[in-house]
Amino acid sequence: MDEQFEKQLSEKVQNSYEVKTSAEDILCDYHAKQKAKKPFNYKVPFFASLGTLACAAVALAIVLPLSFGKTTLTPDASSLGSLTDINVSPLKSKEGTLAYEVSSVYPLLKRLGLQKIPAKSPFLEFQDKKEGVEERFESFVESYEKVQSPVRDGFLGTSADLTANEGSFVGKNGTYDYQVVIPEVGTLLYSLDKSLGNWSKFSGEVSDNEKTYSLEGRTITTNGRENLTLKLYDSEDNDYVNVEQDKNKSIFFFSYSVFEDGLLSYTFSMSLLQLNSTTPSIVLTYYLADDAKGGTLQIVWKNRNVYQIYGEGFAKILLTYQSNQRIYSYLSYVITEE
């Protein structure tokens, strides 16, 4: 092969054509398509306004009349106890409080992620910091406090009371058998198909002041296992949230995945494990597609008032609940929050 010929021809061919489309043409086309698209409200997307709290509450409201024959839930802010007491939802009993607090990481992360400025979750901000140990510890506590705040604000002291009314309720998309008013969320209407043995299918809708979201899912209740899958979606967009929770003997699992325009945007999962007969532990993982970042935290129950938090670059942080205070300690550093 004649290399000189090859090189000469290559240069000639490369110069033989000029792309006619300009960068400006493409940007104009892009802007036109953006304008044509339905504007997406990043400030209050449905999965932020209907975050983990709401999903768990919806899931719980559906499971309650199914499995337990109870119609009232009163979440309690007490500390995590024995895993054996935990029922289908982490909201269901006082034992699930910590799990529930941890699960609140999701909506907060997502909400912050959607704010775009600075478009970082508390923990992602934290991961990027390079200061000394004390500053990093302060940043961590600040982040952890942030992610816990929705739960404290929503549930500590002001217990939610979910009552499922049975009857015939007319919604936007149909008539349903159950109605539950969920504080801070809206009204849930749903119907159950219990004719499937251990399986039950349900469908319904949740309405707040602005929108109506559809939901569908199923529950399985067998010996030793209680499982619920739920899909909440905005029928006008290709945005939806999948929720799954599963209690199987010594494991409680809760996962939450958010899809925007059909693409995975965020996933969060929490596993509540019983390390031994008296030491429940929570493993929390999250992944934020926009930032391509995720993380894992492990929270171990020591006693009713003391928890150990691992992850995010720390060997062990102690969190102690004492007289309405939360005391974080790491090495010789102590931070008290009220």
Partner: protein
């Protein structure tokens, strides 16, 4: 692709992720020819290649905010461009299984209207088989290595180097010498 070009595209890609609209023009100028010829290697039609090129870049801009940090916008752009080209061919030739090995020997063949692109390319196309033409374009104009082309067209590297060498021989023997003179570039 030369290392300097690779580095320039990598830098432009990085900048594009941070400021998609502000940094689009420099990214586009660095990559447009490669993307154009990548598309052209499939569809063999200049006007269509321009249209698909525009669509590919618009899609990149639309998805830029959600691209994983580890994903290079240029690689993503090439995937979009290739998929758009193949989708277009699927529309034209629904009976052809484009996923099969060797499909590049039939795709785009005789699809272009005559004289719609640079005359030199037309002359080259007339001398080479469709597969040789595709390898030539991807290697020379899209500046892909044989390893990269191998992944793209699902052929062994040895086959590609042989095909390319055979193509150069054919061109050296068959191409009108006037094309190689300094007075005529296109």
């Amino acid at each position: 692709m030369e290392n300097a070009d690779k580095e320039a595209i990598a830098q432009a890609s990085k900048a594009l992720k941070k400021d998609p609209e502000g940094q689009f023009a420099p990214f586009y100028e660095l990559t447009k020819k490669r993307v154009y010829f990548l598309i052209y290697s499939y569809v063999h039609d200049s006007a269509l290649s321009e249209d698909l090129l525009q669509n590919a870049y618009v899609r990149l801009l639309e998805k830029n905010h959600s691209l994983a940090r580890s994903l290079n916008p240029y690689s993503y752009l090439c995937s979009i461009a290739k998929n758009l080209a193949i989708d277009e061919l699927r529309k034209r030739r629904p009976q052809v299984d484009l996923d099969e090995e060797g499909v590049s020997e039939v795709i785009g063949e005789n699809d272009a209207s005559p004289g719609d692109t640079a005359p030199l390319l037309e002359a080259i196309k007339s001398l080479l088989s469709p597969f040789e033409f595709q390898v030539y374009i991807l290697h020379v104009l899209d500046e892909k290595t044989f390893k990269e082309i191998s992944r793209e067209v699902r052929r062994p590297q040895g086959t590609l180097t042989y095909t390319y060498s055979a193509a150069i021989d054919k061109l050296q023997k068959g191409l009108d010498p006037r094309w190689m003179s300094n007075s005529r570039n296109s």
